[in-house]
Each structure stands twice: as structure tokens, then as C-alpha cells.
């Protein structure tokens, strides 16, 4: 057991009388106007919110803690899918899962939502690895889109996104114009937004959707990795967000190919500022097990710490 559970053990300039104020005032409460609220199939929605302070500071992996409505006053943590600092908006993709998100789905264009953000430790890509593999499952897709957005203008970086869903995708998939060597024939469905950015993507599902790979995200990722020359494989870094079982499979795949892997986790959350320790995940450290807060120690963790070797 580590002796340093709360706060985070890594020295942080954010704490301490010397650097006390560095961590202060880094999260913003905004009354964000709903610019658009677009429904998709299977209870999925895309929200575009005017939240300039959050948009200016959000990073891939960041999330907002959002009030859905007065009847369910506890906030819900939702990943940021896109952020436009110039125009001050953020996009959030969510799926109705319970009473809170059901209330959220009723909120209309022009209304305001109370947000706290941007929260959390974001993804931190290794600049030495030029082939990021982004794996998103279901409502774990949004952080991958955000990561792709921030990567698409970086010279020398050639990401691949593999996105899976067992309900219809919250966008109209299109045949990709970007050829990816090593993938099974007929796997051509892509996310239009990523396609526009020049980032290759492929979709997977076990529901038989046209152009999608019939299987799990990890099956398609394995096919791609198997087809890479060894030196190219060494340039891969894996980023993933999705259901726990998917993340566990992704972590196992990364371990098998000796690839670094960062996963974004979710957990029921109360304060989202590190105060209540309600949202912890058990991780492995050199000193033994430790409970880390998903909100401020995460939501992005090193997969090797979360999913220990079987």
C-alpha cells in the first residue's frame, strides 16, 4: 500500500504554500448556452455548448461536470469531443443511460447548462511515436475524436482511429478515400469528420453495419498491427476510451505488442475536483496498490497501472 493516497503522490507545483496558487482557479464554472442539441439513433445526442473559458483550455481527455436538471442535482461527467477556442464552443456526445442523461436530453437549444471544466489529466502522446492508434468504443469515441482533431495538423504524425459501436454510430458513416494497408477487404466505413481531417478511420461492430468490420475493435487493431513492419510497429502508441471490458482487451493487446497504452476511465463521480474520493480506480504502483481519483488523477491512466498482468 502506498502511504500517499490523497493527494496524488507526484510532486505537484499546484500544492504547497510555495506554489499554492498554481492549481487554484484552473477549473471554470460556466453557464453554457446550448447552441445545438442533435439527436442520433439509440438515445445518443451531440451537444454544442458556448463555454469559452472551458473551450480555451480543454485538452483531449478533458471532461466537463454538468448539471442535467433540478430534479437530479448531482452532476454528470461527460467527455469533451471537440473544442474550438476561437469560437468558444465545445461538443459533447452522450448517450441516455439513466435519469440524469434523460433529463439532459430534454434540454433545448437556447437554454443554459451549468458546467465545470475542463477537468482531468489529458492524454499525453509521446512525440517520438508517430503512429498513434486511437481506439474508441461507444460513448468512448468522443475523446478519440478530440485527440484526432489535435493531431491532424501535426506534421509527421499519422494516426489511425478504430471506432466501435453496438448501436448505430452517431454519424453517417461513409466509404473511406484513405487506404490503410493490412486491413481485411471490405472494411471501408469511416467517420466523415476524421476523413475531412485526413485521418484514416475504420468502424467495427457486431451488428452487421455496412462497411464495418464484423468484430471487436481489438480484432481490427490486431489485424492492422500484424500487417505493420516491425520498425513501423515501434512507432505505435495506443490511446483508448470505452467500456471497461474493451479497455482491458486493448490493454492486453498493447502489452502483447509491447506498445505504450493510455486509457481514459469513467466512474460514478460526485465532486470532480478531487475532494470526495468517490470516483477512484485501483491502480498498481511500485509501492503496491493505490486508489486514484478518476477526476483529477485521471481520467487518463497508463494502461499497465490499471490492468495488471494476468
Amino acid at each position: 500500500m502506498t502511504s500517499d493516497l490523497i493527494p496524488s503522490p507526484q510532486p505537484s507545483p499546484a500544492r504547497g504554500r510555495g506554489g499554492l496558487h498554481a492549481q487554484r482557479n484552473t477549473l471554470f464554472v460556466e453557464q453554457a448556452e446550448i447552441i445545438s442539441h442533435q439527436p442520433h439513433a439509440a438515445g445518443q445526442y451531440t451537444l454544442r455548448l458556448l463555454a469559452p473559458q472551458i473551450a480555451a483550455r480543454a485538452q483531449p481527455g478533458s471532461f466537463v461536470h454538468l448539471s442535467c436538471g433540478a430534479e437530479r442535482p448531482m452532476r454528470r461527467p461527460l467527455s469533451i469531443m471537440r473544442a474550438d477556442p476561437d469560437h468558444g464552443w465545445i461538443d459533447i456526445l452522450y448517450k441516455v443511460m439513466g435519469s440524469g442523461t434523460a433529463l439532459l436530453a430534454q434540454r433545448q437549444h437556447g437554454e443554459h447548462l451549468d458546467l465545470i471544466g475542463p477537468i482531468g489529466r489529458p492524454f499525453s502522446p509521446d512525440p517520438q511515436r508517430s503512429r498513434p492508434l486511437l481506439i474508441g468504443g461507444g460513448v468512448g469515441i468522443p475523446p478519440m475524436v478530440f485527440l484526432a482533431d489535435r493531431m491532424h495538423l501535426q506534421p509527421g504524425i499519422t494516426p489511425l482511429a478504430i471506432l466501435g459501436s453496438e448501436v448505430p454510430f452517431p454519424f453517417a458513416a461513409q466509404p473511406s478515400r484513405i487506404i490503410i494497408p493490412g486491413l481485411p477487404a471490405g472494411v471501408i466505413a469511416a467517420m466523415p469528420l476524421l476523413e475531412d481531417w485526413g485521418i484514416p478511420s475504420r468502424l467495427t461492430s457486431r451488428q452487421g453495419y455496412a462497411g464495418c468490420f464484423d468484430g471487436y475493435v481489438t480484432d481490427l487493431a490486431r489485424a492492422w498491427l500484424d500487417g505493420l513492419p516491425a520498425e513501423a510497429r515501434d512507432e505505435v502508441e495506443v490511446f483508448a476510451c470505452g467500456p471497461h471490458a474493451m479497455l482491458e482487451a486493448v490493454a492486453a493487446l498493447a502489452r502483447e505488442f509491447s506498445l505504450p497504452c493510455q486509457v481514459s476511465l469513467e466512474e460514478f463521480m460526485a465532486c470532480a475536483v478531487g475532494g470526495c474520493a468517490g470516483c477512484v480506480v485501483e491502480i498498481t504502483t511500485p509501492d503496491g496498490p493505490a486508489m486514484k481519483r478518476v477526476c483529477v488523477d485521471g481520467p487518463v491512466f497508463d494502461a499497465r497501472q490499471v490492468f495488471s498482468t494476468p
Binding site: S3, D4, Q23, R72, P73, M74, F268, C271, G278, V280
Partner: protein, 325 residues
């Protein structure tokens, strides 16, 4: 963003609690605000808006706490079962307290243990620290040993308070459990044992069930219920404990579901000298200045110059006997 309070407002809100000067009657509750710095991440939040901050429950050795899920929303409330995750008293005193800004507010340690001896040891460690006061947590419902097992038994409660009293001359505040038959009797015993004040109430034990999995939602199976759902229960407990305390001049932090200034005023009128804010922070991290402003507005409307004048001002109804004609 909060508007800074005027000096007149501050004068109205300032109060004394167990000999401590509190800038406002608001106290941030243990378990909700980490070790005092966490909420300052939020732009517009300030520890100066509250009279005191109760730090996370602390034991002698580090504790990992309970497995997830640890929190879950219920109708107008929430369940939690954190399980006293903490880095141990020595770490808190040596590494965390030196980093807190004691000019902003008062900081209150929250001590817990599995044995009476552990309570003594933890209190002793905090006694030799700059902490302003010590809250004795004999009411945590989420640990297997200690906690509420002490708090629901007046004899054990008194033994814990006596042990802590021997360990420190700092103000001792005993946090009482609502999960007991006679909270007033427990309060009486704790006063005899040397407590300087009370926090009333801790959470009520509860459960939520995942009907698809047929398992409790909370990893610990049961948890402590907080939030507006428990406010009427908390108010009655404060009223009952106040009946015991007022003759001894023992002050109470009233807590349980306070979200608005009106909620806070109810507790103060029922007998609380200060009021605890917990779950409401999860709803609105900037709630404290709003509650302060609402209290000031009330005091002004009623021509009351200091909050202390309102404490225990409840006028009970005197129900007429039932008429038979």
C-alpha cells in the same frame, strides 16, 4: 463569481464556535473537500467564504478505502461509501497541513480509528500541529470497525471522547450518528466525557440496488445517505441535541442536506451555531457565498445584528389536547 462581503456583512456572519472565531457560520464538511485545497481549483471558490473546513477523516495508518462504486445519486440525495481512504495522520500533519493557508479559514481535523487507542493516537498527533480543532468521527457508517460501531453506543462514544480529551486541549467536536435510538442521551454522555461541541448529523445508512445485476450499486453494499433527502431528520436531531447542549453552552454544527440560506437558517433557529455544507457543494461548488448572502439578507430583514442571536430561537408550538366534543 462571488461578490466580496462588506465589513458589515462579515460582522453579521461572524460567530464563535468552541472558542474559535469563524468568519461565517458555514463549515465545509469532512469527506467532501479532501484536505482543504481541492475546491480551490475552481475559479471563484474561496476558503475565505467559510468559517472552517473539516479535513478528510484520518486514521493512524494509511487506508485504501472501499472498492468502487463509492458514490451514487438517489432521489434528492446520494449514497457514499468511501471507507476512510486517507494517507495516515503522520502524513497529513507533516506534509499537508504545512501547505494550507491558515489565514483564510479555520481547519478542523477529523479523526477516526478502529480502537479507542487509535483515536487517542491520532488525536495526539493532531494536537502537536497547527490544526484549529479536532472532530471525532464516531459515526462513519462505511468502515467495518470503529466508526458508527462506537457512535451508536453511548458507553463507547464516551470512552472515545475521554481518550481524545486526554490527548488534546484543542477544541473537540464530536460528530454524532443519526443511526441510534437516543441521540440526546449520547450527547449527554459525550459532554460528560469532555467534548466541546457537536456536529449533528453524519449520514444515514442506506442502500441502492442494481436491478439488472441484482447487486447493491455501492461496492461496500451499503453507504451513507446525505443531501436534501435527510434534512428533516437532521433538523430534528439538532433540535434534540440542542435541548441537552444549551444548558452547558456546548455549540452544534448543524448539518444534513443544507443547500440554501433558508435551509441553513432552519438549522440555526433549531439550535445550530454553525452549519455544515457537504453534498450541496457537489451540486454547486460556488454555493457558499450565495448562502452567506441569503443569511445576511434574512438578518437584515429581521433587524438581527449578529447570527448568534438567532441560534436556538425556535418557538415550539403547543398543541392543544384533542377535543372530544
Amino acid at each position: 463569481m462571488s461578490v466580496p462581503m462588506s465589513s458589515d456583512d462579515r460582522q453579521m456572519l461572524a460567530t464563535r464556535f468552541c472558542g474559535m472565531h469563524l468568519d461565517t457560520p458555514l463549515v465545509l464538511l469532512s469527506g467532501c473537500v479532501g484536505f482543504g485545497e481541492e475546491y480551490t481549483r475552481i475559479n471563484g471558490f474561496s476558503n475565505r467564504d467559510v468559517g472552517a473546513v473539516c479535513l478528510k477523516g484520518t486514521t493512524l495508518a494509511p487506508r485504501l478505502g472501499n472498492p468502487p462504486h463509492r458514490v451514487y445519486e438517489t432521489p434528492m440525495g446520494m449514497l457514499n461509501a468511501i471507507g476512510l481512504q486517507n494517507p495516515g495522520a503522520r502524513h497529513v500533519v507533516d506534509s499537508i497541513l504545512p501547505e494550507l493557508d491558515f489565514t483564510e479559514t479555520r481547519f478542523i481535523a477529523n479523526v477516526s480509528g478502529s480502537t479507542v487507542e487509535e483515536y487517542f493516537e491520532v488525536t495526539r498527533i493532531f494536537d502537536d500541529s497547527p490544526i484549529d480543532a479536532i472532530e471525532i468521527n464516531i459515526s462513519c457508517p462505511n468502515v467495518k470497525e470503529g466508526g458508527v460501531a462506537f457512535g451508536n453506543n453511548p458507553d463507547m462514544s464516551a470512552r472515545v471522547v475521554e481518550a481524545c480529551r486526554r490527548a488534546t486541549a484543542k477544541p473537540l467536536i464530536t460528530k454524532l450518528s443519526p443511526n441510534q435510538t437516543d441521540i440526546a442521551e449520547n450527547a449527554r454522555r459525550c459532554i460528560e466525557a469532555g467534548t466541546d461541541g457537536f456536529a449533528v448529523i453524519n449520514t444515514l445508512m442506506g442502500m441502492a440496488v442494481d436491478i439488472e445485476q441484482r447487486t447493491p450499486v455501492i461496492g461496500n453494499n451499503q453507504g451513507g445517505l446525505s443531501g436534501p433527502a435527510i434534512k428533516p431528520i437532521a433538523l430534528l436531531k439538532v433540535h434534540q441535541v440542542y435541548q441537552v447542549c444549551k444548558a452547558h453552552g456546548i455549540p452544534i454544527i448543524g448539518q444534513g442536506g443544507i443547500v440554501t440560506a433558508e435551509d441553513a437558517l432552519e438549522f440555526i433557529i433549531a439550535g445550530a451555531s454553525a452549519v455544515g455544507i457537504g453534498t450541496a457543494l457537489f451540486y454547486d461548488p460556488l454555493v457558499c457565498p450565495k448562502i452567506n448572502a441569503g443569511i445576511v439578507d434574512y438578518l437584515q430583514r429581521h433587524g438581527i445584528s449578529e447570527i448568534s442571536q438567532l441560534v436556538g430561537s425556535l418557538r415550539l408550538n403547543t398543541p392543544a389536547p384533542p377535543r372530544c366534543d
